[in-house]
Each structure stands twice: as structure tokens, then as C-alpha cells.
């Protein structure tokens, strides 16, 4: 009929493209700025650690790691993490169960208190244990019997391994809990209630219904908790006393080597922790990928 309709062009086409993105030049500029900033602050330091670690060759590298003090530091670090991570894991599951599955007063206060260790400086995290267990500490003044018993049995806490373990537990305290609480709150309680109504016992419900549901969140929390436990420096350096070969963890051993101007040695040991950080990031990405895949399957169902 009228030719007007055929000559009509959608007038918003150009504008539409502009709404969803910027001109190519701006895009390239922004990508350049972002990558430049990240290269300077993230990639460069990472590359630097590994090049410095091997600056004196693989022989020197292995020699540094085989040193008895280094070996002791590695063992102590694994020991502290092996106690701190499972304890905080049990705590995280308990806290998440109580908070997500039940209603009680003061829940928000409890949530804030669980996050508290994150907002405390690592140096203060160490200091508080010195104030409780150290010389003229709170424990010695209020409960002299306990303090005496510990002295008699030669069980030191400060400037010894127990203090290191305690400080590690403190700084990694919220990791598992803060992963699990929002996850279990989002999942609600209907699945567990259904299992109970169908005759499952409390433990059966927990192991067969809850654990499979929170598996990825739990793994995620444990990975982050472990990375921090093995890498903690400030809190541990306050309570450790830094006795070489006895109370030095890997980060403290790095500091000792660095203070001796043995830079290559320091970076050789540091490369272990940098490698751990890369493994942590890899596992984290893998867990996130799995989780996203699982969610997609559930949505399509």
C-alpha cells in the first residue's frame, strides 16, 4: 500500500549498541588500564618470587629447603594448620547449623561476633594470647593453680608451639563459618525436616541430606582457612619467640633469612608459600566452577 512502511528503519539501532557498551577505543583503554594495574601489582610480584627463588640455581634452592631449620618450620606450619583447620571446620558447621536451622534471639549479635577476628589486627591477635597466658598474664593472676600446674609440667604456651596453634586458630576462626552460614540459610530447613518426618535420625539427616548440600561450601571454606593458617605472619610472630628450628613457622623462617640478607634463600622458602597460594586460587576457581555447574543443572531441572 503505502511505501512508508517499507522504508522504515529502526531508529534506535546505533543508540542501542552504545547503551550496552562503550566505543572500541574506550574499551581498549579500560582493558589496558586494568591489565596494566594488575600486571604491576599482581603478576610482577608473582613472577619476581619465582625468579628470585632460583636466582642461584636449583642446587642452592634445594639446599635452602633441606636446611634443618627450614624443614622444622615446614613441619611446624603443617602441624599448626592440621589442628586449626579441623577445629574451625567443626565450629563452622556447628555455628551454621544453629544459626541457619533455628530461630533464637541475638542471632545478629552472634553473627557479628563470629566475624570479629577478621577486624582485629594480626599483631593484636597475638597480643591477646600473651596477655592471657604470658608472664604476669591473666591466667597466672586469676587461676595460679592452673598456671603453676602448667609450669610444673613444663608446658609453655607463649613463645612455644601451643601459642602458635592458638594464634593460628584465632586468625582463621571465621573462614568456614562465614562460607557455610549464608549457604545454609539460603537452603532453608525443609529438606532436613522432610528427612526427619520420613524417619531419619538426626545424624542420618545431617550426613545424608545436609553434608551433600553444603559439600562445596565446606571445601571452599577449608581451602581459604588452610591458606591463611599456613601463611599467617603477624599474630604468630608475636607469640612464637622466633627460636630458630623450634618455634619458627615458614613465614617466620622467611623473615629470619631476609634479615640475614640471604635474599635468595628467603625467596626460595617464599616460593613454597607462593606455590601454595597458586594452588589455593586454582582449587577455589575449580570449586566455583563446580558450584556454578551444579546450580545450572538444578535450574534446568
Amino acid at each position: 500500500m503505502t511505501p512508508v512502511a517499507t522504508t522504515f528503519h529502526p531508529p534506535r539501532q546505533i543508540a542501542h549498541r552504545h547503551t550496552t557498551s562503550e566505543p572500541p577505543a574506550v574499551r581498549r583503554l579500560l582493558i589496558g588500564v586494568a591489565l596494566g594495574f594488575l600486571s604491576l601489582f599482581l603478576f610482577l610480584p608473582l613472577v619476581f618470587v619465582f625468579t628470585q627463588a632460583f636466582a642461584k640455581g636449583i642446587g642452592f634452592y634445594l639446599e635452602t629447603l633441606r636446611d634443618p631449620n627450614a624443614w622444622n618450620a615446614i613441619k611446624l606450619t603443617f602441624f599448626a594448620a592440621a589442628i586449626a583447620v579441623p577445629l574451625n571446620c567443626v565450629f563452622g558447621v556447628c555455628a551454621a547449623w544453629a544459626i541457619a536451622k533455628f530461630d533464637f534471639r541475638g542471632k545478629n549479635v552472634l553473627l557479628t561476633l563470629i566475624d570479629l577476628p577478621f577486624s582485629v589486627s594480626p599483631v593484636i591477635a597475638g597480643l591477646i594470647y600473651v596477655l592471657v597466658f604470658g608472664a604476669q598474664g591473666w591466667l597466672g593472676l586469676k587461676f595460679p593453680q592452673i598456671a603453676d600446674w602448667l609450669t610444673v609440667h613444663n608446658f609453655n604456651i607463649i613463645f612455644a608451639v601451643p601459642g602458635i596453634v592458638l594464634a593460628t586458630i584465632f586468625v582463621t576462626f571465621p573462614f568456614v563459618a562465614r562460607e557455610l552460614i549464608p549457604l545454609m540459610q539460603a537452603q532453608g530447613r525443609s529438606e532436613e525436616e522432610a528427612a526427619r518426618v520420613l524417619g531419619a535420625s538426626g545424624w542420618q539427616t545431617f550426613w545424608r541430606v545436609t553434608v551433600p548440600n553444603i559439600k562445596w561450601g565446606l571445601i571452599y571454606g577449608v581451602i581459604l582457612c588452610n591458606a591463611r593458617a599456613m601463611g599467617e605472619f603477624g599474630a604468630v610472630s608475636v607469640v612464637s619467640g622466633k627460636i630458630r628450628g623450634q618455634t619458627n613457622t615458614i613465614p617466620l623462617h622467611i623473615e629470619a633469612l631476609y634479615d640475614d640478607y640471604n635474599f635468595t634463600g628467603a625467596f626460595a622458602v617464599a616460593s613454597l608459600l607462593a606455590f601454595l597460594a597458586l594452588v589455593t586460587l586454582g582449587l577455589k576457581t575449580w570449586v566455583e566452577y563446580n558450584n556454578a555447574a551444579r546450580n545450572e543443572i538444578e535450574i534446568t531441572k
Binding site: A15, H16, H18, T19, T20, E22, R27, L30, I31, V33, A34, L35, L38, F41, L42, P45, L46, F48, Q52, F91, C94, A95, A98, D103, L113, D115, V120, S121, P122, V123, I124, I128, Y129, V130, L131, V132, A135, Q136, W138, F173, R189, R196, V197, G202, M230, G231, F233, S237, P251, L252, F263, A266, F267, A270, L273, A274, L276, L281, K284, T285
Partner: protein
């Protein structure tokens, strides 16, 4: 999301409070409180207990001594600047990761968390060596007369490194969930790209940016390991507050160390409160937008 919340609330008010189908409430809450008290609350209370051994003038004298005052100014100033720089670059990084496609994007995305995963001591010696006069970056800066090692600039660099993921990770999810229709609507009403960003997108991201800023700032205030190596810890010049506490501890002057720790703790708690309020505001902001 909002709808789901509504249903949950309704269910809770209908269910009789006394009957609990699920077991383990007393056990899990009991253990949670016991462990929290033993590991966190009692030791933290010891700080305030120890402060009472000082008289008020002694306490005031300690927390206002010149080295401490200089350390507060430095710690606050450097943390503030680092968090501010991270707001700008963190937003650019989050924007690029959410909106654009480029080679190696997934690896870049994963590596943003490096400052969380890399132990602070490792970050500390690495930055110190990189920015020393013979380091890869330091030797480029020294002809320009810029010195990062053993200066306040170095502290700022370390704190920027530490704070980056906080901004990116708080802004990224909000940017991903942003409804493209809002920007399209602004465009159809005649706004150009810059106006859309400035008047529509940025206001929507403001709560997330503020939360990220507060988180990065709070973390920077207490940071120790990544700073001390590059700072050189020169009294009155490059000593951050945690270093002052450490010094008093090394001299076994626990009361003085505790007094300064109390100042830091009070500041941290106020910040924690501010962050909670910010997050609550951000959540409300987003819910209103969705509705």
C-alpha cells in the same frame, strides 16, 4: 529473592516456636558459644582487663606519645589513600571483567584474589625487593627521584596491593546483576554513554563501592606483614601503629602495648559497625531496585 524472603518470614510466624523438628540446637549453639568465648571473647577481654592496670593519665600519656601520634597519622593516611586508589582501579578491573571479553580473562579473574591467598610475609619481602633501588621497579623509579623503599610511598604501595580484591569482589557481583534495561531506558531517553555511567550506573554501584572501600580501609589499618619489610620502620616517619605495638612487646612493656592496641581495637569495632550498616543499606538499595 524478595518473594522467597517473604515466604520464609510467613512460615516462621505460622510455625509454633516450641516444636523443633530438627535436633541438635542446644549442642551446636552450646559448642558455638563455648568455642567463641574460649578463642575470641575471653582473650579479647584480656586487652581491656590489662588496660585497667594503667591509670587514666598513664593511658593517655601512652596513646598520645609522639611516635604513636605519628603512626596514627601515617596508618590512617596511607590506608585511606590506598583504599581510594583501589576504588578507582578496582572499579575499572571489575568493569572490564564483567563487561568485556579478552584473552586470558578467566586467569586474570582468578588472580585478582592473589592478595588474599598470598601470605603477607611473602608479599612483604617481594614488594620490598621489587621497589628497592636495585629492584625491577625501583631502578626505574630512582632516576625520576622517586623512592619507594623505606618511605611512606612504599607503605601506600603495600596497602594498595592488600586492598585490591576487596573492591573488585564487592563491586563485581552487583555489576553482573545490574539490569541492562536501566541503561537502555536512559539511552532511549537521550542520555549519552558518559551520562548513563555517571547518573545511572555509578549511583547503583555506590553502596558496593563504599562497602569495598570500608573493607579495604579496615584491612589496611591492621596490616602488618606486607608493610614492615618495605617500610623500613623509621621512628616518626615510616612506623605504622602495629609496629609500635610490636616494639613495646619486644621491650616486654605489655601495658603500653595494650593501651595502643585498645585504640586500634576501638577504631576497628567502629569500622565493623559502619561496614555492617553499609551492607544493610546496600542490600536494601538492591532490593528496592529489583522491586
Amino acid at each position: 529473592m524478595f518473594l522467597l524472603l517473604g515466604i520464609n518470614v510467613a512460615n516462621d510466624s505460622v510455625r509454633p516456636k516450641k516444636i523443633r523438628v530438627l535436633p541438635g540446637f542446644k549442642l551446636t549453639l552450646g559448642f558455638t558459644l563455648f568455642y567463641l568465648g574460649l578463642i575470641v571473647l575471653i582473650p579479647l577481654a584480656a586487652v581491656f582487663w590489662k588496660t585497667t592496670t594503667l591509670t587514666w593519665p598513664q593511658f593517655w600519656h601512652t596513646v598520645t606519645m609522639p611516635t604513636a601520634m605519628a603512626s596514627y597519622r601515617l596508618t590512617f593516611g596511607a590506608s585511606f589513600c590506598a583504599a581510594l586508589v583501589n576504588v578507582v582501579f578496582g572499579l575499572v578491573v571489575a568493569w572490564v571483567l564483567v563487561r568485556y571479553e579478552f584473552f586470558g580473562k578467566k586467569i586474570v579473574d582468578a588472580l585478582v584474589d592473589l592478595p588474599f591467598a598470598l601470605p603477607t610475609a611473602v608479599a612483604g619481602i617481594t614488594l620490598a625487593a621489587l621497589y628497592s633501588d636495585h629492584g625491577w621497579v625501583g631502578q626505574l623509579l630512582s632516576p625520576l627521584g622517586v623512592k619507594a623503599a623505606n618511605t611512606q610511598l612504599g607503605i601506600f604501595i603495600a596497602l594498595t596491593f592488600i586492598g585490591l580484591p576487596f573492591i573488585v569482589r564487592t563491586v563485581q557481583p552487583i555489576l553482573e546483576d545490574l539490569d541492562p534495561e536501566l541503561e537502555e531506558a536512559a539511552s532511549s531517553l537521550g542520555a549519552n554513554r558518559w551520562q548513563i555511567f555517571w547518573r545511572v550506573t555509578l549511583p547503583l554501584l555506590t553502596p558496593a563501592l563504599l562497602t569495598g572501600f570500608a573493607l579495604a580501609f579496615a584491612r589496611a589499618l591492621g596490616e602488618y606483614g606486607s608493610v614492615i619489610f618495605i617500610a623500613g620502620n623509621i621512628p616518626m616517619k615510616t612506623q605504622i601503629t602495629p609496629v609500635i605495638i610490636m616494639q613495646e612487646l619486644d621491650m616486654f612493656d605489655y601495658a603500653k602495648a595494650t593501651a595502643i592496641a585498645v585504640v586500634m581495637l576501638v577504631v576497628s569495632f567502629v569500622l565493623l559497625l559502619a561496614i555492617n550498616v553499609l551492607q544493610w543499606w546496600a542490600n536494601r538499595h538492591n532490593t528496592t531496585n529489583l522491586a
